[in-house]
Structure formats: C-alpha cells, structure tokens
C-alpha cells in the first residue's frame, strides 16, 4: 500500500467539497451534476478503501514511520507529523464511511431534489466525509482531534441546514455547546498524554505505555486520568449519558444527514477512539467505567424510545441506545465485537433512517406515526427494507444485529452479569419499540390525512435503489463476517489490532444465542399483541408513561439546573458545589474584568489628535526616564 493511495482516498471528498463549495453558483441549475460529482468523489474514496482493505488483508498496512507523510511542525524535543495509520480497524472504518457514505450521497440526490441549498448541502456532506476520513486515518491524536472537530463542525452546519427554521438553528446550537464540553475533555486528555509521553503518535504512545516508559505526571493514575478525559470526549461525540441530549434534537437536519452522520459514522467516533486506544484502556483498567456508562445509556435511551411517536426521534434514541451497546463491547474488552456492532449498526440504522426519509418524502414531511398506518400497501419497498432493518436491530436470528449484539452480551457476561442482564432487557425493549414503530406505521388502518393520502407514493429509484442495496448487508453481513462468534472471520481480521480480551468468554455460546433470540422474538411478539390494531394514545395516560414520553424531563432538568442558572447568573446550590461552577465563575469574572478594563482603556482613545500626541510624548518621556534613572 502506498501513501499516494491514502492521499487520493483523503483528498477526493475534499475536491468534491471545493467544486461544490466554490462553483455552486454555476451548478445551481444543474442539480444532478452537483450531486453526482460529490457522490463520485466519495466513490473514488470507496474504491481506494477497497484497495487498502485487500492490502491489509494480505498482511499490508501502515504504521509508525512508514505512514508519515511529512513533518508538520517541530519543537525543541518533539515533532508533530502528518501521517497515516492503516490497519484492520482503519480499513473497516474506511469501508463503512465511504461505502455507507456513497449510498447516502446517491440517496440524497433524490431526497434533496429541489432544495434551494442543494450545492451547499453536498459541499457540507463531502466536507464531512473528508473530516471523518482524517479522524480515522490519522496516526496521532492531534490529527484525530482535527478530524473530531471537523466532523463536529459539519454536523453543526448540517443540523442547522434549514436555518429558516428556528428549531433547526436551536438544535444546531445545542449540539455545538454540548459537544464543546466533550471536546474540552478530549483536549485535556490529549494534553495529559502529551505531558506524559512527549508525543501524540499512536505507535510511540502505545509502545511506551506498554513498556511503562513515560512520565507519571499524576502519579500512578496518569493513564486513568488520561483515558477518562478522552472518554469524556467520546461521551460527548457519541451521545452517552449525560451528554446524549443533543442527538435527538439533531434530527432537525435533513434525514440523509441523520443517517450518515448521526447514525452510521460520526457518532461512532467515540467507539473508534476507544478501540484505537485499547492499549491505554487495558493498562488503565478504565474499561469498566466505559461499559457501565454504555449499558446505562443503552437501557435509558431504549425506555425513552418506547413512548415516542416521532419516527426519527425513535430512531435517534435507538441510536443512542445502540451506541451504548458498542461502549459496552469496547468497555468489557471485546473491542472486535464493539467495532463489529458499529459496522452492522451503520448498515441497518443507516437503512432505517433512509426508509424514514422515504416515508417523510411521501408524507409531505410528516413524522408523527399516529398519522400514518397502513403504508405497507402504498410503499412496498420502503416497508420491506424497513422491516429488514428492524429485524436486524431487534436481534432476529441470523440477521446482522443478532450476531454483533450477541457477541457483546456474551463478552459482558464474563465481566459482569449485571451488565449482561441490563443489556438483555434493553434488547427486549429494542425489539418492542422497533416493531411498535413498524406496526403503527405500516400496518393497520390508514390514518393518513386525505390531502396527503392522494399523492402517497413509493419513492423514485434514486432513493429506493440505495435502500435495497443497504438492505442486503443489513441482513447478511452478520452471517458472513460474524459466523462463529469469537472465532469469526471479523475477529481474525482484527486480531492484531487489539490486545487479547482479558476475560475469556465463558459458557456455551449457543445458549447465549438462544436466550438472545428468545428475548428479541418476545419483544416483537409483545409489540404485535399490543400495537397490531391499536394506535398509541394521543396523550400519555399514567405517570410512568408520561415520564418516559417526556424523556424523563432531562432536557427540562438540564434547563433548570444548568442553563437557567447560567442565564440568570444566579448560583444554585448544586451549581456551586460543582467545581466547574467555581471555575466557571472565575473564568467569567476574569472575562468581565478584562472587558471592563478594555472599555475603560477605550476611553483614552478620544479621537483627538493632540491627545494621541500627548500619549506618544508621555511614552517617550517615560522611556527616557527609564534610561536615565532606572538603568
């Protein structure tokens, strides 16, 4: 594998961004051209990814010095390089990003048809792919951070894409602010690593960490602090408790964006980061924290999804929940399983978002499933593809989600049966809410408003073909790559990347698979019993339902506890206890003081020529006095 290949892989979407960004004016009338250019750009990357993949499979790869493109800046005792790290993990991510990315680009050509910001949309989308590629290709934390910020920026721009809608810009702001908290953690983690290792290169850090050859800046807990800080970054980016609140709101963006950025790729960056830093998490033994946060998020988000009626929101909470599973996987040391779930999830969740988009397309942007029903007849392809996705996520045997989820749960059992138990309950809930969605939307009586019903139609080929294409891997990829559980092809492919899992998975795998299947099918059956004929009530009836339907009032709680105190400047007790509150107060105080000084000094600028001359002369006199008397 040559560096040139990776450079082409990386630059291609950037070129697409430039063409769409700069020549948007000329592309205005030629929508199709604009869309296909950017899709082609991603396809080129996809082709390069396949070459890179075959090369890695043949034992190739790129790490350490051979991946260095050039030296970026150099200090006294350190140097930052621009370079790439390509191994099995990287190529898996590359294939997901460019593969799913390409399909979603194609889908967008149809979906965004007629939008006034057509070229702007594709410019942002290509820029996103570019940033995501930097994130996974970099051979050091600095490049990862640059990509990390880049995808965050694109996500923000795309959430607020329809800026005329107040809710869209609000959602963008929320995503931005919440992510800053996470990024701050990531940044601090990076600083800690740099202070300890004097470098940010993966190879250097992992080798020195293995050898115990680094500066213990926080005593023996250096690595613990560093990994936890990095995890804060992951919590923000991958929407885990307590920073998950931005992701459901992010659904304000165009649906293909939700599919690509907020389901398949960007939100999984945190999982990728932990898998990449596996060596550090193993040494620091902080994986359990990750797993606990993950499983709690998985359960919590699944309960919220139970009572939502907005299709995209259900999918969003489902994403949060599935991301929780991935964290459980990487947290319990089953890195390959976590990444495997990332891959399968990218396909089936991407698929479901796109079908949701197809439904929206037909329903004139209606998202409330209570106003749907019986869509199966009018939109057969959408129905079937969605069904495949839902079965995959519900863990129906032999579909992709079944394999990856089962591996994670199996590995979790070895670490903590409690995590396993919660994970199993979540699996039941997942199957239940997904099929609730299916039954209410596609089955039963049609509740579609008459005006909309008349032009209810299946989506055009440019949209349904991608759905069909995505449905195939959603169904089969688990079987192909995951057959054999911990001895599967996927595990063999990635075995050199990750440290050996510390707890050997115990118990008979078939038993676990059986339990998972039963739980998943039970969820589906329960949904069938309950929602085959019925429609969710317009208003939640009892207290628990109300609590869940209102997402545990978390947004309201955050608003009351964090946002309002800041806004009012009043210091609630809780706020004051928190260290951040005090630190924040100091920061704000300093800012206010500086502003005050600035405002005062500003008055010296009177606009009078002679005042300026006086200040010059005073300056001269003072300096002369300094020479005459001080020295």
């Amino acid at each position: 594998m040559s560096l040139g290949l990776i450079v082409v892989l990386l630059i291609s979407p950037f070129a697409g961004f430039l063409i769409n960004g700069l020549f948007g004016k000329w592309l205005k009338g030629k929508e199709k051209l604009s869309g296909w250019i950017s899709a082609l750009a991603v396809f080129v990357s996809f082709a390069c990814s396949i070459i890179a993949f075959t090369s890695v499979r043949g034992g190739g790869g790129m790490s350490g010095d051979e991946g260095i493109l050039y030296e970026w800046i150099k200090g006294e005792s350190f140097a930052f390089n621009i370079g790439f790290h390509v191994d099995a993990l990287t190529t898996v991510m590359l294939l997901v990003i460019t593969g799913v990315g390409f399909i979603i680009h194609v889908y967008s050509i149809g979906y965004m048809h007629g939008d006034s910001g057509y070229t702007r949309y594709f410019a942002y989308l290509n820029l996103f792919v570019f940033a995501m590629l930097i994130l996974v290709l970099g051979n050091n934390y600095l490049m990862m951070f640059v990509g990390w910020e880049g995808v965050g920026l694109c996500s923000y721009l795309l959430i607020g894409f329809w800026y005329e809608k107040q809710s869209a810009t609000d959602a963008g702001k929320k995503a931005f602010i919440v992510n800053r908290i996470g990024d701050f953690g990531f940044l601090l983690g990076m600083f800690t690593l740099f202070a300890a290792f004097g470098s940010l290169d993966f190879t250097t850090i992992f080798d020195s960490a293995d050898a115990g050859n680094f500066q213990q800046i926080f005593g023996a807990s250096t690595l613990v602090i560093a990994t936890l800080l990095l995890f804060v970054g992951a919590v923000g980016k991958s929407a885990q408790i307590p920073l998950y609140v931005w992701l459901p709101d992010a659904m304000e963006g165009p649906t293909p964006v939700s599919a690509l950025i907020h389901a398949a790729t960007m939100v999984t960056a945190g999982v990728y980061m932990i898998a990449r830093s596996a060596v550090l998490y193993e040494l620091a033994e902080t994986g359990e924290v990750v797993a606990w946060i993950g499983v709690l998020t998985a359960f919590f988000a699944a309960t919220i999804a139970l009572a939502q009626n907005d299709i995209k929101r259900i999918l969003a909470y489902s994403t949060v929940s599935q991301l929780g599973y991935m964290f459980v996987g990487v947290g319990v040391g089953a890195y390959a399983s976590g990444i495997f779930h990332l891959v399968t999830h990218a396909f089936f969740k991407g698929l479901m978002f796109l079908t949701a988009g197809s439904v929206m397309h037909a329903m004139a942007n209606e998202l409330d499933m209570r106003k749907m029903g019986g869509l199966r007849a009018k939109m057969p392809i959408t129905h079937w593809t969605f069904l495949v996705g839902a079965m995959a996520i519900a863990g129906v045997p032999f579909l992709s989600g079944f394999w990856s989820k089962d591996e994670i749960l199996h590995s979790a059992w070895a670490i903590s049966p409690v995590i396993y138990g919660i994970g199993l309950i979540t699996a039941f809930l997942t199957a239940f809410y997904m099929f609730r969605l299916i039954f209410v939307t596609f089955y039963g009586e049609s509740r579609v408003e008459s005006g909309v019903a008349s032009h209810l139609h299946e989506s055009p080929p440019v949209m349904w073909v991608p759905l069909a294409i995505l449905a195939i891997p959603s169904a089969l990829i688990g079987l192909l790559l995951g057959w054999g559980g911990h001895n599967s092809w996927f595990h063999h492919f990635t075995e050199h990347v990750f440290p050996k899992a510390h707890g050997e998975a115990s118990g008979n795998m078939l038993v676990f698979m059986g339990i998972s299947s039963v739980v998943g099918l039970a969820g589906i059956a329960f949904a069938w019993i309950r929602y085959r004929e019925r429609v969710p009530a317009a208003e939640p009836t009892h207290a628990l339902h109300k609590l869940v339907a209102n997402k545990y009032y978390i947004d309201e709680v955050y608003n009351a506890v964090i946002v309002q105190p800041i806004k009012n400047g009043s210091h609630y007790l809780l706020w004051r206890i928190l260290d951040t509150g005090i630190i924040d107060g100091i920061v704000n105080g300093v800012a206010a003081a500086i502003r005050l000084i600035g405002g005062t000094l500003r008055r010296l600028q009177t606009g009078l020529v002679q005042a300026y001359i006086v200040s010059m002369v005073v300056g001269i006199v003072l300096f002369l006095a300094y020479y005459l008397f001080v020295r």
Partner: protein, 99 residues
Amino acid sequence: MGLEYYLILSALLFTTGVIGVLIRRNAIIIFMCIELMLNAANLAFVAISRHLGETTGQVFVFFVMTVAAAEVAIGLAIIVSVFKHRQTVNVDEVNSLKG
C-alpha cells in the same frame, strides 16, 4: 565653535516644535511646527557634517527638504479636504473617529 552649541540649538528648535504641536489647535500651525522639527534635524545634520568634515549630512538635508516639501503639499491638500467638510481646521473639532 564646538559642535555641542549647534546641537543644543537644534534640540531647542526641536523641542519648540514639539511644544508647538502639543499646544496649538490649528492643524496648519501644527503642521508648521512639525516642519520646524524637521528643520531642527536638518540643522543637526549640517552641523555634524561640518564637524566630521564630510558631506553625507549635507546631502541628507537636500533629501529632507524635498521630502518636507512633498509632505507640505500633501498635508495642505488633506487639511483642505477636511476643511471642506467641517469648515474648520481646529483639531479639537475633528474627532468623529474614536473609541
């Protein structure tokens, strides 16, 4: 006669110019005071040149005179354009740019 007398004279001239710039309010007179400062420098150049017995300083004066003339031409033009807008050349009244 010693060099220092010339230098003291030139320093006095220069200071007079600075004080003029500081206390006068009419832009044109301020400008003339600046010219006075330039001429103080010229005087110093000539005196030093004579003291050293070489001509660089003298040549310098020629250039400074030319520059001063160009400066006067430009300066008057700019002051005139300010006057056209405000009907005054009092620098205290020309202060719309500040902060």
